[in-house]
Every structure is written in structure tokens, then in C-alpha cells.
Symmetry: D2
Subunit: 395 residues, 4 copies
């Protein structure tokens, strides 16, 4: 029996996500049995020096500066897109057209129109065995995957409530600087698209249902922030003397939602919840059970089973670290938890297995386009006196 061909990967992007994905490609084949061995072939970045350094540091064989050269190369099988959202569509469409498998960071795009184009291209590519997957990595948190399994097994009965929050505090300080993430041109939206997108995806996936309408409010609590100058320091001036520029995205978003299974959703995404560092939370209440999760305790899942004997009922704190749990048989003994980056390792594992199997991976670009349509509806509602706004149907 011949050894299967390796899977040659090109990663585009050298920042935070590029680093997390590098770690995933490195670790996945060592901890999991994979049908094809990934090769960390090429990393792409705009700055040649920085890209070269990242390649060395992260162990990519080659460093190049133009993604266009790479998507056409014969010796590349997978394009992993870790750039800001405004370039996703162009890169992904080119890569799919060139027959490359694509892993694209979230949010899929900055507009619904782009997302729909990408989803259509992905459907076409799928017929040729070419895979496209969007990086909503939290789906690969074992506790969230277990949550999805529990719901899919019907243990919660009829779903009534979805309660999702993503609370951070990194710009709680009004003198935190004006980065590109606070500029609508570049970032698309603020807390909504950055972290709100995650809880939309998680709650739709876990509840096996889609959001059909939303009623929303957005807030920008701190309207101007210090502009970072050319020099890295403040040059003797205090922050109060800094010139300030406008924040053009939301600091926080809140919305109620209706799901197509009849559930009532309550969502909140904010970067201003002081003391909450990464409280990515979902709770679902059904007619026969409930589940609750908080990423700040990512190795735990709370599960309430109404079938438990009366007088002995209560939320169970499941330590999602046992071999019965998703992804866990490849790791350590029970009680030895995983960390944030493992969600990316699992993403890569599922992608590689999907490529070998010829399909079946998720979230698809269609799933991701649905998230984009919800984001758009949230913005539309917030701009229309919070009126309940239908989420567009997929085209």
C-alpha cells in the first residue's frame, strides 16, 4: 500500500491568527492519526522581512509576499486565509477557482454579497471534491462539540431559549488607542462582527436551527480615541494631549432573536464588560434539559437533565476531558484540560479528514454566509429603531 500524498499548505497572514494556525498545522499530525500528512510549505505576508522571520520562527519552508503567486502553484493543496476580512473574498475565490481547498478565517466576508459569492463558489468547488471551510474555531472546543451532540441526541427536547453572550473588556479604558479594528472601513463592524459572529455561529450550530429575525441595538460608548502617531511612544506628552480620532464601529451590540424552531434568543457582544476577559457563553433551555457553557471555563459543560430523579436534580459540571468526549481520546488522561489553541488543532484535523473523505466538513461557506446575513440584519434593525428585521433567506 502506497503512502498517501502529503497535503501541502500555504498560510496567508502572519499576525495572531497566522500564529494560531501555524501551531495547529504543526501539532495536528503529531497528536492525531491523519489520513494525509500536512506539510507547512509556504507562508505569505506583505512585509518580506517579517514574513521571513515568521517562517523561520514557525517552521514554514518558504516565505513569499504575494498570495496571487501561491494560489496558482501546483505544489500547494490548501490555502489557509488568515488575513483581515476585506481580502477574504478575493483570495478565496481565486483559490477555489484554482482547485485549492480553502480554510478561511471568520467572518467569512465583510458583506453579505461577498459571502454569497463565496458560498456559491464553494458549492461549485465541492462538486469537484474541493473543500471550503470557515474558521469558526469555537465549534471545535470539546465542550461546545459535546453540547451540539447532546442537543442532536434530542436530550433537551423542544428548544425554548438560547442565551448567548460574548463579553470582553479590552477597550473598556477610554484611552485605549484607535486601532484598525475600530475603523469601519477596514473592520466592517466592531464587537458585532468580531465576537458577535462567534455566538451566532455557535448558537445556530448547537441548536440545529437558524435565526430568522432580530431586533437590535448597537452602542459606541467611547466615540473618540487617541490616534497612535508615527513614533511608538508618547514623546513626553500624556495621553490627554494626544489627538483623538473617531471610533466608527460599535463597542457593543445587543439583540433579541427568533429561531426557526421557535426558540427565543437573547444575544450580547461587547468589548466593554470590565472584568470579563473572554466570556463566550451559550445557554440553551429545552423542555427536557438545559446546557450552559462559558469559554472562561472551556473544559467544563453544565448539563441539566430533567429525567434525573426528583430531589437529586441539578446542573452537572461535566469536565469535558474524558475519552468519550469529542477530540479527547487523542489527548491526555481525564481531568487534564486543553487550552484555546487546541480548537485550531481540531479544526485542522477535521479539515484534513474531510479532504481525504471528499467532503462532510463544517462550517461550510453556506453556514458562514448565514452568519453574515444575521449580522446584516442586526445592523439593519439597529438602524431602523430596533424594528424586528427578517434575516434574508439564502439565495
Amino acid at each position: 500500500m502506497s503512502t498517501p500524498a502529503p497535503l501541502r499548505v500555504a498560510l496567508i497572514g502572519t499576525a495572531f491568527m497566522g500564529r494560531a494556525h501555524s501551531q495547529a498545522w504543526r501539532v495536528a499530525p503529531r497528536m492525531f492519526e491523519l489520513p494525509r500528512e500536512p506539510e507547512m510549505a509556504v507562508i505569505v505576508g506583505r512585509d518580506p522581512e517579517r514574513t521571513e522571520a515568521t517562517a523561520r520562527q514557525q517552521g514554514w519552508r518558504e516565505a513569499v509576499t504575494d498570495w496571487r503567486d501561491v494560489v496558482e502553484r501546483d505544489d500547494i493543496d490548501v490555502i489557509d486565509i488568515c488575513t483581515p476580512g476585506d481580502s477574504h473574498a478575493e483570495i478565496a475565490l481565486a483559490a477555489l477557482a484554482a482547485g485549492k481547498h480553502v480554510l478561511c478565517e471568520k467572518p467569512l466576508a465583510n458583506t453579505v454579497a461577498e459571502a454569497e459569492l463565496m458560498a456559491a463558489a464553494a458549492r461549485d468547488a465541492a462538486e469537484l471534491g474541493v473543500l471550503a471551510m470557515c474558521g469558526f474555531s469555537y465549534r471545535r472546543t470539546p465542550a461546545i462539540a459535546l453540547m451540539q451532540r447532546i442537543v442532536a441526541e434530542g436530550r433537551l427536547g423542544e428548544i425554548r431559549h438560547v442565551r448567548a453572550q460574548y463579553l470582553q473588556d479590552w477597550i473598556s479604558d477610554p484611552d485605549a488607542p484607535l486601532t484598525w479594528r475600530l475603523d469601519k472601513e477596514k473592520a466592517g463592524s466592531g464587537a458585532l462582527g468580531d465576537i458577535g459572529a462567534h455566538i451566532i455561529d455557535t448558537s445556530q450550530w448547537v441548536s440545529a436551527s437558524v435565526i430568522t429575525a432580530v431586533s437590535a441595538q448597537l452602542r459606541t460608548f467611547v466615540p473618540t480615541r487617541p490616534v497612535l502617531g508615527e513614533s511608538s511612544g508618547l514623546g513626553g506628552r500624556g495621553v490627554e494631549d494626544q489627538p483623538r480620532g473617531p471610533v466608527t464601529v460599535d463597542d457593543a451590540a445587543a439583540w433579541t432573536a427568533t429561531f426557526d424552531n421557535g426558540a427565543l434568543g437573547v444575544f450580547e457582544a461587547t468589548r466593554m464588560a470590565l472584568g470579563r476577559l473572554n466570556a463566550n457563553r451559550v445557554e440553551i433551555n429545552g423542555s427536557t434539559g438545559s446546557i450552559a457553557f462559558d469559554f472562561e471555563r472551556m473544559n467544563e459543560l453544565e448539563f441539566y437533565d430533567a429525567a434525573d430523579e426528583a430531589g437529586l436534580q441539578g446542573f452537572r459540571r461535566i469536565q469535558v476531558t474524558e475519552p468519550e468526549h469529542p477530540y479527547l481520546d487523542a489527548w491526555w488522561p481525564a481531568g487534564h484540560g486543553l487550552g484555546y489553541e487546541h480548537t485550531f488543532v481540531h479544526e485542522v484535523v477535521d479539515l484534513v479528514r474531510g479532504i481525504a473523505a471528499g467532503g462532510g466538513t463544517h462550517p461550510t461557506f453556506d453556514d458562514a454566509a448565514q452568519v453574515q446575513r444575521v449580522l446584516a440584519a442586526v445592523e439593519a434593525s439597529a438602524g431602523d429603531e430596533s424594528r424586528l428585521t427578517q434575516v434574508e433567506a439564502a439565495r
Copy 2:
């Protein structure tokens, strides 16, 4: 120095709240130093036998059946109204007109119009030294009172987020019977007015701000429920053979809100959150601190102080059981927690002290009318495609 005159109390209502208030009147003068000694003089109920039995059991001197006789009596100083909401206005107006101090259970009334009338009467009475207080008893939970103090001291800075939930599950079972609480004629509204009212009051009081607009959804997940027949049992028939009648109130309510201090509010009240028994929760995030509370752990308060040294910051679990904490110096040593009923004891303590001092108690009927106006705005918004709806100004 002469002994101050006792304070002669008449309690109207013999059900759950009547029992809780009886306990409060009994215990308050034993654990706290009070300026006047309350006397449990008269209890009023419609059923003579049941009222007589309650009087004996709870230690009321006299049992009568018509509240109208009582509000006029010279030997009564305080009227404590524990009846369903549809009779509050009539009783309270009569009592205030007769110069009696009034403690009225929440919600103050079933309509804004009634609530406004009552508030106006209370303002008039106040000029004569007659007090009116509404029974939003959770204000007297020591941890919530501490929360209010922390905010009032300015420790949170500018308030950005108010996140309040009141989650219960007592009608999660679709075969739970159709009680009067599920009938709009009698109960006014469902989860919204019953428990939503509490989190509106708490969040407005603690944040020293009022809600100015809301965007809401209401849900009735179980539209019909078994009608309880004449006989107490099912008479050989299973619940599936029971006739079912319509539920005419909400099972759940969710709304986003704007506060007049600029904060963004997210609220949810439900009787269908399986596994959550009495999760009456409020969290407030400000620019320099955060606080969080859950009544399921009523003796604890979480407090985050951004002034703590970097690297050592975190939510503190304050056990609100120390003599420095509100109401606690009258009770037990540190670490020996209180229970639900103590909130009523504290309510009575504050009322008696207010009567002796000639004023200053809260929540006033004005405070309670404001809650009523928010409830009305929530219903209006839910009936108008969730459109952001202004809360009426106080007249």
C-alpha cells in the same frame, strides 16, 4: 421618657406573600432595634375559616373578611396589602385616604393609569406624614443593597452595561396546570410583570438611573394547558385527556433597553428556563468596576475593581455576611448567611423606621409607577414589531 406607641398592623392576604409578611412582622422587632413596636393586629381574608386558621397559625390577634372595615378603623396604623394586583389600587387609595401607612406588594398595579393614581395619592399622603412603600423586597437583599452602595459611591465609574435576568422553570412542563397566574384578566401579564418587574426595579435602583426606551419580544411557548377541574384529582383520566384552556399571558419576555445614563440594558424574564430555580441576576459593568449578583447565591456579591494591581485583578467573591454590610450587624457572625424571607424582615424594619422618622423610605409609589411604565413599554414594543418604544415620562 414615655414608651412610643405601638404600630398596629393589618395584613390583607393569606397566601404565600401573606405568610412571608407575617414572618417579617414577627421577626423584625426581635432582631432589630425599632423605634416603634409593631403589633400583629388583624389579618384579612375572603374565606372566614381559612383566615381564622391563618390568624391562629401566624399569630394575628384578629381575623376579618372585609378589608373595607379595616382601613377605616382607628386602631390600625399600617395596611399591608398582599392581595393579587387587580385589587391593589382600590385598597391602597382607600387606606391612604384614611391616613394609614401602606405597604403594597408588587407590581404596584395592573395598569399604568392605576399606578399613577396611586403615586399621586402617595405624594399627597406624604405631606401629612403618611407613608406608602411598594414591596420590591429584593432591594433588601443585603448583597443587592451593597451593590447599590458600591455604585452610589462611584466605584464603577461611568455605567455602560446592565445585564439582568430572572430565570425560573416552574411551568417548563407543558402539562403544568392553567392557574390564574396564566390568565391575563387576573394577572395582568405573565413572567414580565411577575418577575420581570423585579429586575426592572433592581436595575434602576442600583444603577441610579431609569430606563427610557425598550425593544421587546414576548413568547408563550405553551399555548394551552390543562384546566384543573372541580375535583382535586384527575378522576382516573390521564393528563392527556384533560380539557385544555388557553394561556393568555407571556411565558417569557426579552428586551433591550436604554438607560438615561447612557447604559445599554439587556433583560430577560422567563418561567421556562429549565434548571434555573430562582436565578434573579443583575450585572453592571462600568468604566472602573463591575458587580454581579445571582439570587441563587444570595449571600454573595461579585465585585471587580479595575484599581486593583495589574496581574492581581479578578472578580472578588464577597460573602455579604459581615457587620459592615447592609442589615448584617443585627444578625449572625460572618459567614452565617441569611435566607429569602429576611428580605421581608428588612423591608418591615425600613418601613417602621421610616414611619418613625416621617419619611425617606423606598421604593416609593413613584418608583413603582416607573416600573409599571417600563412594563407597559415592553408590551407596547412587543406588539409593534419590537420597535424601540419610549417609556412614558412620569406625569
Copy 3:
């Protein structure tokens, strides 16, 4: 049918415990159906003025200063002993000899010899229908009573581990004053007898097993403390100028234990665990289940059932506030927790019911004497190089 005779109670002691017991006698007949109605007849204290004031404040009909007069009176049925431990034996023996039912605060006595005498007297009295009960009130915490029921039902299988801690911090400050509780003559022992006694009683009762041997260490971390002078204040002097006297009891005690069912016990009692206010904790691990309790969250019990489906196992947070739980059907709706003092209410309820039934209450004086024997063995072991020391058998 004639009304049953009331139960006339005399309470001896006006301090913290006297206040807690007063509250219990007051509340028990109002919240529970009792076979006989307790009457708060007489309170006894050494200081006439203070006793009179307490009688008025707490609602005792009569105040007297010599307990000897009271134990002989025909119009008294129950003697409730809330004095320091060194007077328990004399009072209890006299009361039992006079045919009075006795409720005696813990620890039962300051020595094993006294405790044995009291237990023998109680056994004799029981034959005449006279009851004696020791006030290990934590047994009446609903969560602890539920714990006991869970073990008794066999749900934990074979018991392997008993892990009990009672952590407080009230003398963590080395300048906390030298009270009588720190004087061996008066208090018998320190943390050991005061709070260690509770976890011994709880763990023996819950596990249905007795401790047969212990290996112990005692510590006095702060050997001298400021002596409080005649004047209440420091008179211009700082605490560093105060005269200091010797602490003659333990600040902390730790011991391992063997139970007669084969379980291994680990115990710790301390008044120096900074930040732990009343962490009275017990955890039991068996072959098929585990339970864990912490009084700082007294309305919760953690329960692990190994029979739960693999992958869904975890400690359940049971909110012990439901009608199925011990004592709870007399109180409030689910999720509305109780407080510290309710344990005393339940104690009185069980005592009154036991008196009417002619027996069956616990802890008996025999149970309490067993605790005393364990305390003695702990002290003996600590004085004998921690050698494993047998707990004396009951005589």
C-alpha cells in the same frame, strides 16, 4: 378532641446562642405544623438587667437569674441549655432528674467523664419518656440532612473517604483580643472543640459510622494576645502597648482518622484560615457516588452519581430548596434559600415532634458523648507525638 398541652420552655443563656434559640422557638410553630405549641416561658441569665432586657426583646414571658429555680418548676417542660460548656453537665443532670426534656448546646461537656454521666442520665430518662438532645444544629441544614439520606439510601456504595474541614478566620489578626474562648479553663479547647466538634458529628452521622482512631496535631500560632482592660477603649494607647496574656487553647487542629466502616478521614478545624468565614465542609467519596457540601453555600449540595451515563457524568449542583428536600415543604418556593438560623428552627421542630412521639430524636447524648471521646483522642494523640490513638469505646 382536646387541644394538646402547650410545651413550656425555659431557656438558659442570653448570648449569641440564646438569641438563635429564641428565634427558633418563636418561628418553629408558625412555619411548621407541630403536635404541641411551644411557649416561650422563662429565660435565665446571671445579670438581672440584661436578662430582663433580653426577655423583653426576644419575647420571653419571664426573666430569672438562677437556673436551679427553674429546673424544678412544675410549669416548665423543656430546659434549653445555651450556657458555656463548663456548666452543661450540672444543669442537664438536674433537669433530667427533674423530669424535664433537655436541649443542650454542643459540645455536650468539657470532658468525656461528664459527657458519659450525661449520656447515662439521658438513657435513664428516656425510659420515662423524657428526651435529651444535643444541639449539633448543622444536622438540620437541609443539604446535610439530604446528604445523610443519600448515604442511607446506599447511593454512594462503600465509603472510602471522609474529608471534612471547618475553616474560619476570626482570630487571624494576632492583635485580636484574648477572650474567654481562648482560655482552656473556661473553653475546654479551641478550634478543636468549638468547630472541630461539628465536623466530627456531621461526618459520623452522615456516614453512619464512627471514628475509631485518630492521629493529630494541634497548633497555637499566636501564643499571646492583648488582654482587654476594664475600659472598653484603648485609652490613647496603641494595641502594641497593651499587656498581652497567654492563649491556652489551640488555634487550629488537624487529624487523620479511621472510621469503623474502613473509611479514611482527613479533618481540619481552624480559626486562622484567612478569607474563609464559615467554611464548614464535608465531602464523602464512595465506590458508586460522592457528595460534597460547604456551609458558605448552605443551600447547595454537590452529588456525583457514577451510574450516570459515561460522557455525561459530573457533580450535580443540587439547589436544596425543593419540596422533596428535608424541611423544605414548610418554607418557600424552589430556589428561595434558607439561612443559618433555620437550622435551629428545624432542631426545635424535631425536638417537639420527638417529645410528642415519645422518642426518636437525634443527636442523642450518646451521639454527643461519642464526639467528646473523639475530641479527647485528638488531644491525646497530639500530646503523644501524633501517634494513632484509639477512640475509647462507649461505656
Copy 4:
């Protein structure tokens, strides 16, 4: 400036620890700036086929079967020993003699005599710039490292209590098989040496103090267990028909301890605490602060500061995920936790930095020998009626 020479590593052992160390060597140079680049040169295992497979899977360049060949090789700089404890001494002594840096898994040895020999050899080697480090990896949990820093900064004041537990449940089932870990010949001891060793090391390191005497009990709750036969399955027979062999080590160990700083220690290590998967816990109470940790929530540390304002005091839940925390600036944004394996990454990072710096790493073999002496004292005390037994002084 020339590139520093790479650090060529040979790993001995292919089981669980071998896999964890492989991951550490792989990841450390990618996430941290290291002064020398580790090379995964050789892996050593007894079974040629299995070793070959592990080399391929884990990315070691070469696979060999005799560790003796490797320790002498010129092209190897570091020997990483992940074999069972009975071979540690021989390998480590040979490696140090050959001038190789050594990382040796814990416990350092199976006897005090061996440990002392190794410590002496390490002291000699240190003079030549050759480093020896013992793999008590939990020291590199960021929260435990932060704990150590907090104590070292004097924030806790005088240390009074050390409370350490390591609770697991993996052989709670009496039909769990008789593995080599339950055989004294091979494993040295049971829960005591395997997991008790960790809490001894952590508590000594964090408290900057050593244990001077112990009083202990050991237990074997399940004296015989099924012997696993040649075939992997049960061959049609139920477990009740399996031959059973004797368990010759402890299932659980409990001891009280004295520290040289005067603190009172209480320790428990068990493999039978049903429901506790990896509850590696340490709590320290001092005169001005307390800290508490549980590995089941490894990214959190509880810290109580008595200097906090009265009424606002409480244990803070520090999320140890911020750049101010040990090791965290190399990882992800705040709130994005780490997992079990990261402790090994940090171990490798510190070792490589120590090698480049010529010393300063910990735990030294002397530290590890001290742990061994405590283990020996625990066993001696348990065999001598739990008598308080002095821990031998270091030679």
C-alpha cells in the same frame, strides 16, 4: 554574530510522558524566543518497532533501543528521561557523568539513597556547567508560578496553613485491572509517590519552606484486582471469573505535616475520590492573605488580600491569562486559557534558558531529593502507628 549551536535532545521513553515531552520540545521554540534551538534528535525505547513508529509520529529524527549508546554520543546535548522510576538513577548518573544536561521525570528515584546519589552527581555536574532538572511540571502551571510569586513578594505575611490535595478516581472501580503502577516492586509506591509527590513539591516551592515532620496513614481499599492475561480481551469470561492478584501499593495517603516556617500542613493523595478527575489543589493561608488553586480550573487562581477595604473583601478569581502572568506574554490574548501540556512547554523553555545561562533552573535534584525524603517519612510514619516522623536532613 554567529548563530548559537542547536541543542540536540535525546528522549528516553515512548509512553504518556514521552508523548507530552515530545510535544513540549516541538512547541517551545515556536512560541518562545529561545537562546538555542532544540533539535528532536533521538528517541529511545525498548521495542524497536514501537520506537520507530513513535519517532515517525512525533518527529524524532532517529530511533534507537539502548539508552547507553545515546548518553555517550557526542552529538547529543540533553538527555530527557521519561522512563519508570526504577531506571532514573542509572540513566541520570551515566548521562551526567558523560556531561549531558538532564531533564528527569518525577519522582526523581524510587529510594532516598538513589535520590541522594543523583543530587550529589548533579551538584558536581553543575560546577562544570552541566544542568540537571527534575520534571515537577506543575511548577510551570502559570497559576502556580503566580502563587509562588505572590508568596515570595510577602503578600501573605506569615504562613500558617498549607492545605494540599491531589484527588483522582481512576481506580475507584474495584475491577480496574492490576497494572504495573499497583506493584510496589516496579512503582515504588502508589498514590503517594505518583501524585502525592507533586503536592509535596508544589507546597514546598510555593511556600518557600520545607516539610520537617509528618504523621501519616496509608490505605489500600481494594486489596486484589483482576490480572490482565496474555490476550487483550476477556475471552468470553466475565471480570468476576478473572484471576485476581494483590495490590501492593497504597490507593490513598493522608498526612499532617510541620513546615520549617511553622506552618501546619494537611495533605491527601488518592486515586479513589470518585468524581474528582485531577483535583491537584493547594491552598495557603497567611496572616495577611490567602491563595487557593485547583488544577481542574488550571487557568484560575483565588487570591484573598486582607488589605482590601473592609466590606469589600473576598477571594478574587484571577484569570491567569494576562501578559503580566508567568509565561503568558508568549501565548494568546487575555482570557484564552492554556492546557495541561503547556506546563511541559514551559519546563523546556526554562531548561533551555537555564542551559544557555549556565544555571539557575529548578527544581534541582536537591529539591527533588527533598521530596523523596518526605515520601520516605510518610511511609515510615504510616508504618509506625502514624507517629510524627522527622524528615531526614539533606546530606
